[in-house]
């Protein structure tokens, strides 16, 4: 078994990034004009990278499957972005952000990458404000902060419940400035279908124009994959309908190792599913846990009464409610990290206390917060002995100002008023911490092929803390990749334009065309969604919030069977040379059907519980931590990076041993 070199610079942790930047090779401005870079994906990572590389002088070609870069799914991130600014004076620092992120990731992330992330976090906020991102401010005109799960400080910056939107529109505006200058050539409605390697280096991609169906060749001196995560392997997730793993999976098949696919984040606060027709799940921001209290009834009689409509949740007294997070985790209460909150909800629902018809829902209640804010407001406004009605009116206004758009979203979907009755929530697939393996330079195991943002694996370990995804996407794109890629490209100043009329491009294009032709000519009996839903069901039931050896082995065999059936029976109407959404989906689901099996294989290999990966075989059996996840640092403190060898089951494991020199490995306790 080979070991992987992370290329982490030597020296003390806090000096690594600074001394690295001082020592790397640079490309002079005149030479940058002769160098092309391809960026696939225009979310926070891809958008910020494309804009910054173009500002530096490189010729950037950017690709998005949507009709505009602004529609990438980063747009849907609600809650906020972390940064170690310590504006609240509550003791925050880069080191604390680093520490919280490593601990939150259950000690399965790369220490040096996380420290760098924490170091550049403050720059992100400065940059975004300079771009005109309208973060929330207080009455003194200063930036406001909120708190997120798994930390004890307020370091999260936000723009109402639409932080991702505002940050993405910031990156998009920076892109637009470069598109207008001709430094970014933007390809909307284009999908990358393969990477092209020349002499072992990534030198281009094959794309399909989603309007005309035309297959195109694009060359460059380096290729950056920023295509997001693979949560849609579960069919139902909080991802966008088009979010897919195709770019990441194609590069995996061309030699990039795929790391820790089993690390998936099941987010605790999503709107429960309502029926088989459901196409996606909607997240309710974790920021709601600042003010919402999570509970189920204490007594089974009340559960049944609520399910049958004989009682309403508001009928239950405080004594009849089980605020199970506050009960189990008094120190962090409702603000435990996501993995812990999700498992706790599953535990209560598995025990039969779920509050809706499917038995898969718990309450998120704002009554206490509304009363607390109402009393505070009455005091501020000098209202003596306010009536309960007045308190609720005043408190509701505050809650509305904070979370209005989320409450409206909930109301539109569920048709209930969350100001008056508690929300119902249940965990759903949200984010994938695993992804393409990259070294300290964010380069994959293929030379000249980079991977940034959610698509890579490095910073969140086995569990991502809230408001850290936006931070990582922008850190990679604005502040890390522009340095590291220059070091590599400094060797390409004499290379000249990469031609596309070579055998490498011929072969890659032929492969892509053959696959498309297969789909439109197969004429099977079942739609693409039929197979995607089958895959999703297997993933959710056997590779979901809790996993065991037997289930994982079954999942691998079942996914393989679905995949074989897919290639026989899939039906794609229409032709290859037109806009054809079913054809797009077919290619994406074909890749999910391979990725899903590797996912299960990775989960099977990792016989420990860490972060979002919970193995039933590995739980604490007694003591105060009974039932909590049990990590095994002796045997599993490594990154599992898989090398493609044909069938997913044949993938070869490479280990990157994780070293923690600046942090002591501890059991993660939130009690």
């Amino acid at each position: 078994m080979a070991t992987l070199d992370s290329k982490t610079p030597k020296g003390p942790l806090k000096d690594k990034w600074t001394s690295y930047k001082n020592k790397i090779d640079l490309v002079n401005p005149a030479n940058k004009r002769n160098i092309d870079v391809i960026v696939v994906g225009t979310g926070l990572a891809g958008g910020s990278a494309a804009a910054t590389l173009a500002e530096l002088g490189y010729n950037v070609k950017a690709f998005a499957y949507q009709d505009s870069p602004r529609r990438a799914h980063s747009i849907a991130a609600q809650g906020g972005i972390n940064a170690a600014k310590n504006y609240q004076g509550d003791g925050d620092s880069s080191y604390r952000l680093f520490y919280d992120t490593v601990k939150g990731g259950d000690y399965r992330s790369r220490e040096s990458n996380v420290h760098r992330l924490a170091e550049v976090s403050a720059n992100i906020i400065d940059q975004c404000v300079a771009q005109g991102v309208p973060f929330a401010r207080d009455y003194g005109g200063m930036l406001d902060n909120r708190s997120f799960g798994g930390v004890l400080v307020s370091r999260t910056f936000y723009a109402k419940g639409q932080t991702g939107q505002q940050l993405l529109l910031g990156a998009y505006s920076a892109m637009n400035r470069q598109i207008a200058r001709g430094k970014i050539e933007m390809f909307n409605r284009h999908e990358m279908l393969d990477v092209v390697k020349v002499d072992g280096k990534a030198r281009g991609i094959i794309t399909r124009n989603l309007i005309t169906g035309e297959i195109e060749r694009h060359s460059a001196h380096a290729v950056v994959i920023a295509s997001g995560g693979y949560g849609n392997v579960y069919f139902l997730s909080t991802n966008a309908m088009g979010s897919n793993a195709t770019a990441a999976w194609k590069v995996h098949k061309k030699g990039a190792y795929f790391a820790n696919p089993c690390y998936t984040q099941i987010h605790p606060t999503c709107i429960p599913r309502s029926g088989d027709y459901q196409s996606k799940l909607t997240l309710m921001s974790e920021s709601l846990r600042n003010d919402g209290r999570i509970w189920v009834p204490k007594n089974m009689d009340d559960v049944m009464a609520i399910r049958e409509g004989r009682k309403k949740p508001t009928d239950l007294s405080e004594e009849e409610r089980d605020y199970y997070l506050e009960r189990r985790y008094p120190a962090f209460g409702n603000l435990v990290p996501r993995d812990v909150a999700s498992r706790a909800a599953k535990e209560r629902c598995d025990a039969g206390y779920g509050v809706n018809k499917t038995g898969e829902a718990v309450y998120l209640d704002f009554k206490s917060a509304i009363e607390r804010y109402g009393k505070e407001q009455a005091k501020i406004k000098g209202i003596n002995a306010p009536s309960m009605e007045k308190i609720i009116e005043l408190g509701t206004a505050i809650v509305e100002a904070k979370y209005g758009n989320l409450f409206q979203m909930y109301n539109k979907i569920v048709d209930e008023d969350p100001y008056k009755t508690p929300m119902m929530i249940y965990p759903a697939t949200h984010y994938t911490m695993g992804g393409v393996w990259v070294d300290y330079n964010l380069m994959t195991t293929v030379d000249g092929l980079y991977c940034i943002g959610e698509a890579n694996f490095s910073d969140h370990g086995a569990n991502r803390l809230g408001a850290s995804a936006l931070m990582q996407g922008l850190a990679d794109g604005y502040f890390v990749l522009p340095y590291t890629i220059g070091d590599y490209l400094s060797n390409d100043i004499r290379t000249g334009k990469i031609p596309t009329n070579t055998k490498e491009f011929d072969e890659a294009e032929k492969e892509v065309t053959e696959r498309i032709n297969f789909f439109v000519n197969n004429n099977g009996s079942k739609s693409v969604d039929y197979f995607h839903k089958k895959l999703g069901k297997i993933m959710w039931e056997k590779v979901g919030m809790a996993r065991n050896e037997k289930g994982l082995k079954e999942a691998m065999a079942e996914i393989k069977a679905v995949r074989e059936d897919f290639w026989k029976e899939v039906k794609v109407p229409g032709t290859a040379d037109e806009m054809n959404p079913e054809l797009e989906k077919a290619g994406r689901v074909a890749d999910f059907l391979e990725l899903g099996e590797l996912f299960a294989k990775d989960a099977l290999n990792r016989n420990e519980s860490c972060g979002g990966h919970f193995r039933e075989e590995s739980a604490e059996t007694d003591g105060p931590q009974k039932g909590e996840a049990k990590r095994n640092d002796k045997d599993y403190a490594y990154v599992a990076a898989w090398e493609y060898k044909g069938e997913p089951a044949d993938a070869i494991l490479h280990k990157e041993q994780l070293e923690f020199n600046d942090i002591e490995l501890k059991q993660r306790s939130y009690k």
Binding site: D67, R70, G132, Y139, G141, R177, S279, T282, K412
Partner: protein, 248 residues
């Protein structure tokens, strides 16, 4: 519930196109409108017909990809929602629903219900940004205090999702609400003032070039806007434009 759908079908940009009738049955009131469209498409695929092409992505009302003109209203009969957030509980058993693409000269149809909104892109590229490079040493984010009211108003303008409902619903196919929102966001912030003159002039010039119509103050755009972008933004843009013109 059982429904009759009258849907615009158009094979490609140069095809003439026509309304076609379809029936769907057993539609749950809890479904979203697009989930109802998924049911129709699954039905069409199984019958060997070509499914209806429509734009959609996030399905939670924020990406701005979905469009559709439903029963004569952009994003359908509900208020403050995009088509993906519209639920079937807004309809009754036996209803006939007419579904068309967003129509405007500057939004040509690509296929069925999918339109080309790249005219919006070009407007943004003409000035929808602040010219600041990424450097890692911009001034501290709290260096310039911004009054809460200004920050909140800028945020309200910035929530535009660029879906184009304002254009589709306007009898003049005007893009003034869309452009006004972007101009306002920057006009309200000190960072945006530096380039305010060129920005408003360039964006308005590009808007005219794309073939969007003028504003005649009917206010339909504000009513149909899924994000409630206020008409005040058009007024602010007009005032900015006037100021810029006087400056020369």
């Amino acid at each position: 519930m059982n429904l009759t759908l009258k849907i615009w079908r158009q094979k490609g940009p140069t095809d003439k196109g026509q309304m076609v009738d379809y029936k769907v049955t057993e539609i749950s009131e809890h479904m979203s409108f697009l989930e109802m469209m998924d049911v129709l498409n699954e039905q069409l695929i199984n019958a060997g017909e070509e499914p209806v092409a429509f734009d959609h992505d996030c399905r939670e009302g924020i990406c701005g990809m979905c469009s559709m003109y439903i029963n004569g209203e952009a994003h359908g009969p509900d208020r403050g929602v995009t088509t993906c957030q519209l639920h079937m509980r807004m309809f009754k058993d036996g209803d006939t629903i007419t579904i068309e693409p967003f129509r405007a000269t500057a939004f040509p149809v690509i296929k069925d219900l999918v339109v080309d909104r790249t005219s919006f892109e070009r407007i943004q590229q003409s000035g929808g940004f602040i010219s600041v490079n990424t450097s890692g040493n911009t001034q501290d984010a709290n260096a310039i205090p911004i009054p809460k009211k200004d920050a909140d108003d800028a945020m309200d303008a910035a929530t535009c999702i660029g879906c184009g409902a304002c254009v589709a619903t306007c009898k003049n196919s005007s893009a003034m609400l869309f452009v006004g929102a972007k101009v306002s966001q920057y006009a309200l912030l000190p960072q945006g003032r530096v380039e305010a003159t060129e920005r408003v002039q360039n964006m308005v010039a590009q808007m005219d070039l794309e073939g969007f119509g003028n504003c005649t103050n009917t206010g339909a755009c504000e009513i149909e806007c899924p994000k409630g972008i206020s008409l005040e933004n058009i007024a602010r843009m007009n005032s900015e434009f006037m100021k810029a013109s006087l400056k020369g």
